[in-house]
């Protein structure tokens, strides 16, 4: 699907499938198109072309029945701030037939929210917790989270993650979570997608993603030179004196990479491969993408 706002194409030809039962981390820098995508999934925005299907239904036809099975928490969550948490819970309980009172109690305890104070005086972290609490307690089949962790301290983030995992015994429970900070979802997600300037640059299992990247440092014999053009498969090649560094994106094992290096660089004296964190992978891929197709912003 594609979505445009005036001249800006916020999402361009996005094709993406999220498997039921997965926790999908949708990563991108600010303005990459994450919020637009999520709003489309909730029928808050209509795509200009293409379609989005959510729980088997076209997103533009989502009605109360489907929406009652979707939980949604966003960075700019608006809450009825005059209400207390107790009043908010009482209100939401009446809206959702699948409301689970014992889960609600467990979450209230876990999140340690004051029950009888108007939410107006709450910190950002407390407000997000309250929003997640009432979105989890009806056991939605699909949880859409738009940057839920941004600007929160690590303790609050951890509480939120634990709260989400309270739902994990549920069958076919799917989470689609957007973030610009990878570290917080690195362990949790079993699938990862990266969007940049409205274009999906990657979508795969995090197991695959974790294993196929290495930063390679190769040292050449004295006096030997190499051209970075040799590494058209490697990302972000850099040459400095007799050292060459690049990011290898099809790593299988040391043996296989070693033989490829030998073929490319007969003068290679030694090399090392270092695993990358998801954050480093994200930065490398985004930089490489931008270097390959400079944007006219």
């Amino acid at each position: 699907m594609s979505c445009r706002f005036g001249k800006v194409e916020a999402v361009r030809n996005l094709t993406l499938a999220v498997l039921a039962g997965s926790i999908y981390a949708f990563l991108g820098t600010n303005g990459a198109g994450k919020t637009t995508t999520i709003k489309t999934l909730l029928n808050l925005i209509k795509p200009d072309s293409g379609t989005a299907r959510v729980l088997g239904a076209d997103s533009t036809l989502l009605g109360p029945r489907e929406l009652a099975q979707i939980g949604y928490v966003s960075e700019n969550q608006e809450l009825p701030e005059r209400l207390t948490v107790k009043q908010l819970i009482a209100y939401c309980r009446s809206l959702y037939p699948t409301w689970d009172e014992s889960l609600c109690r467990r979450l209230t305890e876990k999140f340690a929210l004051p029950a009888d104070r108007p939410m107006k005086g709450f910190s950002r972290g407390m407000k997000i917790k309250a929003a997640l609490l009432v979105s989890l307690a009806y056991r939605p089949q699909l949880l859409l989270l738009d940057e839920p962790f941004s600007g929160l301290d690590p303790l609050v983030r951890d509480d939120l993650i634990q709260g989400m995992l309270e739902l994990s015994e549920q069958e076919n429970w799917t989470v689609f979570i957007s973030s610009h900070d990878i570290e917080e979802v690195e362990r949790l997600a079993d699938h990862v997608g990266i969007i940049d300037s409205g274009v999906l640059t990657l979508s795969e299992s995090s197991e695959n993603l974790r294993t196929r990247f290495r930063r390679v440092d190769a040292i050449l014999e004295e006096g030997a030179t190499a051209s970075p053009a040799l590494f058209k498969d490697g990302l972000l090649p850099e040459v400095s004196g007799s050292t060459i560094r690049w990011v290898e994106s099809h790593y299988v094992n040391d043996e296989e990479l070693g033989s490829r290096i030998k073929a490319w660089l007969p003068d290679c004296r030694a090399w090392t491969g270092t695993p990358l964190t998801l954050r480093e992978i994200f930065i490398s891929l985004t930089r490489a993408q931008r270097a390959a197709s400079p944007l006219s912003l």
């Binding site: 997965s22 926790i23 634990q162 949790l188 079993d190 197991e207 974790r210 695993p275 998801l278």
Partner: protein, 127 residues
């Protein structure tokens, strides 16, 4: 709290790291045969990982006999068989070959290698 330590590192699938952590805890005696092993849910919650990831690791450990599933009781740490079978020794051949190649590349002698293997053996198993 989980009865074994695990610090998740980059570069390897989390489920493999979990399998390895449990194996290490079993040989060091941290996990005793017959003791209860945490549920998929508990492992997932403690490590903040996807329940499917925890499930995958536990399934591998059950498949290899390190964990046993007892209906009504749950998952327990399996009994360690007294002597390894030929088949189990064969499974290690790849790892040993890699170790010999690395050692030889670093100009180690066979007795150097035997010495460091013995050190690690003692450190991990307390024997």
């Amino acid at each position: 709290m989980l009865p074994f330590p695990l610090r998740i590192q980059p570069g390897l699938p989390i489920s493999e790291q979990l399998v390895y952590a449990v194996k290490k805890a079993v040989i060091s005696g941290l996990l005793k045969p017959g003791s209860k092993f945490p549920s998929v849910r508990a492992v997932s919650q403690e490590l903040r990982i996807h329940p499917n990831t925890a499930h995958k690791a536990i399934a591998v450990l059950v498949g290899e006999g390190l964990l046993e599933v007892h209906p009504g009781i749950g998952t327990v740490v399996g009994q360690i068989p007294a002597a390894p079978t030929e088949k189990e020794l064969k499974l290690l051949e790849g790892e040993v070959e890699r170790l010999v190649v690395e050692a030889k590349n670093r100009r180690l002698r066979l007795d150097d290698l035997q010495r460091i293997v013995k050190q690690q053996w003692n450190r991990l198993t307390g024997e």
